[in-house]
Symmetry: C2
Subunit: 766 residues, 2 copies
């Protein structure tokens, strides 16, 4: 197959060859903070139904299965894996954690171990059978399943080459299946190498063993999971990877003869994927392969590291590249030595060292030939070192770290604790995607939790596409959706039009005059000599160029304010001043979901601490950070703050009396350290009704309305409130994570709005 | 009422007092190019139904009534009046024009004069009665009706003042009606002044007179329309403006006694408005007044000038300001002298000169007191001059201009011709609103023509609000509407996402790779050594930073192109080049409405003319202009064009062989003189189906899709076309006014899309 390597080395094929996609399934048990297996049900905070996409249940009720979507780069796989782990961990009840090893934690009495409590009765029956056939303990082992699809473009071009130059008559579908079958056979032949390199199940707690004599004499091994004590079908199960027809026929015969209860009981380290039933593969062809032999890596917080994924991927590509073409005898030999290597002493040089050396050296040649990144060459170097020095293998490293078998449970518990703490460090963020907007991160968090599938269409653009039972919705920047009309955004962007439309509908809106030059504007100056009003640029967003006169202005003041405003915009508004306190109403689909009052950066005295100390204390809140990477901002003590204090007769060393609130900023922006305070429950309902009707009038479904309100306890009248601004794409974070009061999870409301057909998520499967 | 003037002089009241709104109704007969009364039906191109808002029919089938919406400034009224006139004129069949005078053109035999052919049978019966009672000729007189509403805020504050400080017990509604009744009485008392100042019906064609003896001995008068030969009720019609109850009672009694066939037969120069039936006014109150005495001004292309409107408005305000409080005796006297002044010789000093002087002097005092603009003070000065010198009045001016009565028909015909030519000068623009975007102008044109009501919500923002039977729709920039989802705009803005979404759905889209730095991008350089491709910034709109390689590029060329692209944007796309010709598909609501091929600025030789001459000839097309103020742009002969010619071996003095097309630009932009060519009918239907499905996939209703197509005659295959770009808010002008081919009136399709409930407009009332 020399021609194949030549073919792959063409510029475009080299690129396509490397474009394989990878998806990871990571199994892991929930444990209590004490390290015991959790006996609680699947967490209610995640969608436990079978349509859930990222967080599922495996064999046992305590066993989570975390599934990433297929991705082209290991770093993307890792981002998803981290994100899904964080959601899973933050969704656990009673501070449960995830057990970090393939071999289970200390198991309780087998009667206490519950198989997964699934809706699907067949799925439950299957699990009951497994308990019967293999024992509950065996089923409690966890692993990493590695799904990999070779670029369809590559396979297509390769097929074309074969048809055109090598007189191949096969259809693309048949060719693709044969292609994957050869890869499967090669993999099964050489899988021992991965067991050696990634084996990470050297010991197990005594509670794992059904038979006390099952322990290994040689002490810690490489992988109990891949040993004869792991998943091994009974001897009467026959199989072949020779061709797809026979593969299907054998599998069906095993089921017919009751050697297997179902096709999926066939424990092979390679599964052919593309259809649920084996027979359907004859129609669909093999679409990708699932490699099931990887142990959970003990140094990877999320079960596998990016470099491990890269090595796996390139090793599998190498099995395509190489001229090896294993037959079924080779396969059977491969399975045999896989078990043998798994059972070798963790610190012993492997009996297969020579073949291992040769394989990795050959793989390095391929990496060079296809211009692989230096990173994967480096990783392969490290694997070569593992071949030479068994103490570098994960199994040996585990044993070294935990000293003896007694340390197994303790180090497992500690590592679980570390991952748990890291997930909870910033509960408002979604690890793996922290470069994205916070509101988008939370929306993704909720989608993972509630069982929606989604893709990131554009990461810089904060554009997501959700999918649930075929219904797709695109969401940008947290709440830009298909639910709002295109033109409504421009209506809200135009302050004059917004207010005109609302005023026509009878709402109280400060009267506003628009001018394009100072001379025209000066003609109305005498209207404002003893009236509260504001002069501001037409299209600035709360900030520069605004002058407020609470008791009128004379002609000179009026002119100066106009000049300031005209510096910012060619059109200036002169607007009646609205008295009261400003509240942001978050409206969605005819409901007010949250109402937030924003107040400037401030501290409350305790009669003992200095201002500086009070600020430092307030800044300890984990919700405070810098540059919009957290829901609230750190309160600064810069020139502006010091000056604001000075005007109140304070400096940073002043001790503030107990209960006294001192403001460090005159503006109420969250971005300068201000607080948001949730007021939904406190607000009189009449204002909520007004906000809902305003949104209706603007023909918009999602909006943030800024209302000035004189008294939130008193019912609304014609003029005790005023609309200041209607905002499209309104900020979400201040509602989800206010400084005070119960945050409102408006991201969940958004998903519900987009998917009314999905039963409102109430938790659990009951 | 001294206190009233003091009250008005307060700063805020001064402002409110001047905030009266005005609407104009202008009647005018359609005439043939020869100046004869048109005997054709109401133009089919305008909506002739009774819901039509701006263009209606008056008494006769030939008599247009053009109605402006209420506006606060005379310039806005004039803009509307011009726009409505232009639409009316451009909608006329057989090059008909509008007769410019109040007195009709030469009338045919009365049997040939048709009363308006309205759907409403009662309306037709009423007209038949009028013919019977007054003769057809009288009903052929046209005029200007001046509707004016005093600021409700002013009336409200005035009422408040009366209640609080003058112990007035009236409700606001009763007060407002009394307020308008006093104004009506004062107006009727002093209306003679307006007849003197604006009388413009000195003579009539002989065909007007039913009785040959009806002509005036004194020769040309001021206003036949306001004379005893004009609209005058029979002597038995009684009336009062004393109070609203009696006004209604008298009017109803006239109808009951058959002195009037209907309330509207009551010919008064003031009508109380606010309800259709007089009795309803008792419930609604009087909302505004209609002043009906103005003759069509012979020097105003649209029947009345802005300065006339201003004078009318401020004269009416003066009748409020002044301490006059005419009673019904005064009113009867006022009507008497109005007729008398109307019948005075056009060049004679009026018998009422002294009162006129006093009125205008008093009005000037008011203008000063309320800080009126200099413009209205100047206009009032001119009116004072007319009082002193009758030859300055419109009636006298008309007589001077047309020398004798024979000139009446000729000057009328000539003036109609001038207005006609001016309307047709730029049929793609809407006079009065030429500062707005062309597509918005055309949309407004069509709305006027098709009987939709609309307002300009924001002129700079090109934001319109349409209304039809209570259904409102906002449209911005021609086709941003409520029909498209908010997020779709962002999907189309993002080239990568657009193409990904379309490619997933199976459409042929050039493969595109996105990079954020040169080093990463250079890694794929070898993919493009012998492939046609484009390197471009991710988010530029066709222009800077684009490099095209039709035959691949070496690493150095590749890198240089990347550097150029990265200068424009932080993200760069490397995209397969799509061969073929580019077509813009304009898609709306599942239909392709137009397909335009854009080609660069070019001329076609005739074997005689030089390039310079050919360009000059092509630039004579009235559709070509500068700066997007016309559908196509003037072709320049600047450095770029000269250089493009040079590369083809030409200069501006070259004579081009007959039939040879020479391009002056390599780019195909309309903005640099390119041509658009309509191709809808020529394009194979399969591409239209693809475009419709693409819009569906993007979940957008209105879009402009740029497709590269190899052969528009051949059916689409998987790869003989490619989507280049999907555009939101796509340009409309190139479809409506292409350089070649039949333009598609997509603005009309838009109205139909927004208002599916409105019967598709087919023209006429049949």
């Amino acid at each position: 197959m020399d021609w194949l390597q030549t073919f792959i080395q063409q510029a475009d094929m080299k690129h396509a060859f490397k474009q394989a996609s990878v998806g990871i399934e990571r199994e892991g048990h929930r444990i209590t903070p004490d390290g015991d297996l959790a006996l609680t049900p699947h967490p209610k905070k995640v969608d436990g139904s079978t349509t859930a996409f990222y967080i599922q249940r495996d064999f046992a009720e305590s066993q989570l299965e975390l599934v990433t979507p297929p991705s082209y780069t290991s770093s993307e796989v890792l981002e998803w894996l981290q994100a899904i782990h964080e959601v899973a961990i933050e969704s656990l009840d009673n501070d449960e954690r995830i057990w970090p090893y393939s071999m289970p934690p200390k198991l309780p009495n087998v009667d206490q171990i519950k198989v997964a409590d699934l809706e699907d009765l067949d799925a439950v029956a299957y699990r009951d059978y497994l308990v019967e056939a293999y024992g509950k303990q065996l089923q409690m082992i966890s692993g990493i399943h590695f799904n990999m699809q070779i670029s369809p473009e590559f396979i297509g071009k390769l097929h074309q080459e074969l048809v055109e130059k090598h007189d191949d008559q096969r259809s693309i579908k048949d060719f693709q299946s044969d292609f994957y079958l050869r890869l499967a056979r090669n993999f099964l032949r050489y899988q021992w190498l991965l067991v050696y390199l990634f084996g990470a199940a050297p010991v197990a707690d005594a509670s794992f063993y059904r038979d006390k004599n099952d322990t290994f004499e040689q002490g810690p091994v490489r992988s109990i999971r891949n040993s004869h004590l792991g998943y091994v079908n009974k001897a009467d199960v026959t199989f072949t990877y020779d061709n797809l027809e026979d593969y299907v026929a054998y599998l069906e015969a095993n089921v017919a003869n009751h050697h297997l209860i179902a096709e999926k009981e066939f424990y092979s380290n390679v599964r052919l994927r593309g259809a649920k039933k084996a027979r359907s593969l004859l129609t669909t062809g093999i679409k990708y392969l699932e490699f099931r032999l990887l142990d959970i890596q003990p140094d990877a917080p999320y079960g596998i590291k990016a470099s491990d994924i890269d090595f796996m991927k390139y090793f599998i590509l190498y099995l395509i590249w190489s001229d090896k073409d294993s037959n079924m005898d080779d396969v059977r030999y491969g399975i045999e030595i896989k078990t043998k290597v798994a059972e070798e002493g963790a610190f012993d040089v492997t009996s297969m060292q020579a073949e291992g050396r040769a394989l990795l050296a050959d793989m390095q040649s391929m990496l060079e030939a296809i211009d692989a990144d230096q990173a994967i060459i480096d990783v392969t170097n490290q694997m070569q070192a593992r071949i030479e020095d068994p103490s570098l293998t994960p199994a040996a490293q585990m044993m070294t770290a935990m000293k003896d078998i007694e340390g197994y449970l303790a180090t497992g518990k500690n590592f679980a604790e570390k991952v748990f703490q890291s997930a909870w460090e910033k509960p408002y963020a979604l690890g793996g995607f922290e470069d994205m907007e916070l509101s988008t991160q939370i929306l993704m968090f909720d989608a993972i939790q509630e069982g929606y599938q989604f893709e990131i269409l554009d990461r810089d653009d904060q554009m997501l596409r959700f999918s649930y039972k075929g219904h797709q919705e695109i969401v940008k920047n947290g709440n830009i959706t298909s639910k709002d009309p295109y033109v409504a955004h421009y209506v809200m962007e135009n302050k004059v039009v917004t207010k005109r439309v609302l005023a026509e509908a009878g709402f109280n809106v400060p009267q506003s005059l628009e001018f394009k030059d100072i001379d025209q504007a000066m003609k109305v100056a005498d209207l404002y000599t003893d009236k509260a009003f504001v002069i501001k640029p037409k299209s600035t967003n709360m900030g520069l160029g605004i002058s407020i006169f609470k008791h009128g202005a004379n002609a000179a003041e009026f002119k100066e304010a106009l000049e300031i405003a005209f510096k910012e915009d060619g059109a200036v508004l002169i607007e009646d001043f609205a008295f009261g306190t400003e509240y942001r109403f978050y409206v969605q689909d005819g409901k007010v979901l949250s109402i937030v009052n924003r107040i400037g950066a401030n501290v409350v005295g305790d009669g003992k601490s200095t201002l500086e100390e009070l600020v430092a204390l307030k800044n300890q809140d984990s919700k405070r950070g810098h540059d919009h990477r957290s829901p609230l901002e750190i309160i600064a003590l810069g020139a502006i703050e010091v000056n604001t204090l000075k005007q109140q007769g304070y400096d940073v060393s002043s001790i503030i009396p107990e209960g006294e609130q001192v403001f460090l900023r005159e503006n109420s922006n969250i971005s300068t350290g201000g607080d948001s305070i949730e007021m939904l429950e406190a607000m009189h309902d009449s204002y909520k009704e007004i906000a809902v009707k305003m949104a209706e009038t603007l023909q918009v479904n999602i909006t943030g309305l800024d209302l000035m309100i004189l008294d939130i306890d008193a019912p609304a009248t014609d003029d005790n409130y005023a609309l200041i601004e209607a905002n499209f794409n309104p900020m979400m974070m201040m509602h989800i994570y206010p400084a005070f009061g119960q945050g409102k999870r408006i991201t969940k409301d958004l998903l519900q709005f987009l998917y009314p057909e999905k039963t409102k998520f109430t938790g659990g499967t009951e």
